[in-house]
Amino acid sequence: SYGALARYRNLSRVMKVNDSAAIGISGDYADYQFMKSVIEQRVIDEECLNDGFQYTPKSLFSWMTRVLYNRRSNFNPLWNTFIVGGVQDGEPFLGYIDKIGVAYNDPTIASGYGAYIAAPLLRDAFEANPKMSLAEAEKKIDECMKVLYYRDARSLNKYEVAIVTKDGTMIKSPIVSETNWEVAHMIKGYE
């Protein structure tokens, strides 16, 4: 969005890095495009080396943290929040990096409004069922995106998902949640 104007309704905020890692971005789109081109170039360089090694999610996370923190320390930040996700040694990994270099990893991560609205839902879901299946996880994400569409005034009912499994990375886009506005019939007036 451009302030309160829904200017671009088709921007991708999710990027596949390689078969074991993907990143999601929020914040300044230009800074994201810069980071995207840097990462893509690095992935290509790595392929050219042809040494059998690939960027792992944890190494990518570590590198990005250093980059962002360094830029912040030089008063020239990349105004973004990155979420790095992937599978490393059979274990799933999810990390959060801020424009000021705050970095942590957790089984559930959310940025922006999601931290207030989606994080409680995701935490509940994870605590109830830490070993949920892909279908269940997708359903939970859909539920969160639906509630975010209901409650974030600067959101649209369209989103993309990046799924990283041991078999590779896949990006599903666009997904539209089924919203339920039946409650509108119960509301008349304000007093």
């Binding site: 409004y113 207030y116 609205i117 989606a118 994080a119 409680p120 839902l121 935490r123 509940d124 539920e143 969160c144 639906k146 509630v147 209901y150 409650r151 039946e182 409650v183 119960m186 509301i187 008349k188 007036g189 304000y190 007093e191």
Partner: protein, 275 residues
């Protein structure tokens, strides 16, 4: 004060005299006392037979927990209760004022007070104070026209909705409501949803914590359940750290008499105690 025979009728509206004084204090570097806020999660829900109100029980003073188990669901009348978020004093006093005004109104009309009346009284008072009274309320009750639920904002606007949340934990609680609300729920379902919403606020918002209080209002009775769920019990000590008698071995025992001499003896008369 015998000199004031003819008191001046007080002018309506808010007197801003103290604001000048406070500004002067700030300039001089004297800091104002911090407000005792209820960083809070409060919710309300309309279900099949009535209204369920829920609240957490933590009261904060900036970053310190001032009260671990305060009561945020206030009595307005026998069939109307109100949850309050914002400055604790403001919510307490506002609800008490409206409660007394409503009681006088009830005696005047001879009827059970309506929730919309309480709503009007609250919003008219809060608007008069232009938002300086920091009270964000969830007002719910059942009257002759049915169950009603309102959210009242500090500046005086109100919303009439089937489910509302207020306070710092309102987004977390609203997320749970949006996920689980259905029209005309059963009582136990509604209580569970309210408990889950408050729990989301308690565990995900730093301004809310401790226990969940629930108040179920129906046409015939009110169930004020405090606490409904003690979500944060203090950990129980699993063992005693006290040393058993005999842990330290006694090697030698010696009894000595301490010599002391009487220095002074005084005799004093104490008057008898009379009532």
């Amino acid at each position: 004060m015998a000199s004031t025979l003819l008191a001046e009728t007080p002018r309506g509206g808010f007197s801003f005299e103290n604001c000048c004084r406070n500004q002067f204090f700030e300039q001089k570097g004297i800091k104002a006392p911090t407000a005792y806020k209820t960083g809070t999660t409060i919710v309300g829900l309309v279900y099949k037979d009535g209204v369920v109100l829920g609240a957490d029980t933590r009261a904060t003073e900036d970053t310190v927990v001032a009260d671990k188990n305060c009561s945020k669901i206030h009595y307005i009348s026998d069939n109307i209760y109100c949850c309050g978020a914002g400055t604790a004093a403001d919510t307490e006093m506002t609800t008490q004022m409206i409660s007394s005004q409503l009681e006088l109104h009830r005696l005047n009309t001879g009827r059970t007070p309506r929730v919309c009346t309480a709503n009007r009284l609250l919003k008219q008072m809060l608007f008069r104070y232009q938002g300086h009274i920091s009270a964000a309320l969830v007002l719910g009750g059942v009257d002759s026209t049915g169950p009603h639920l309102y959210s009242v904002y500090p500046h005086g606007s109100t919303d009439k909705l089937p489910y509302v949340t207020m306070g710092s934990g309102s987004l977390a609680a609203m997320a749970v409501f949006e996920r689980g609300f259905k029209p005309n729920m059963e009582k136990e379902e509604a209580k569970k949803l309210v408990r889950d919403a408050i729990a989301a606020g308690i565990f995900n918002d730093l301004g809310s914590g401790s226990n969940v209080d629930v108040c179920v209002i129906t046409k015939d009775k009110v169930d004020y359940i405090r606490p409904f769920d003690e979500a944060n019990l203090k950990g129980q000590r699993q063992g005693s750290y006290r040393y058993k008698k005999g842990t330290t071995a006694v090697l030698k025992t010696e009894v000595k008499k301490i010599p002391f001499e009487v220095v002074k003896k005084t005799v004093r008369a104490e008057p008898m105690e009379t009532v």
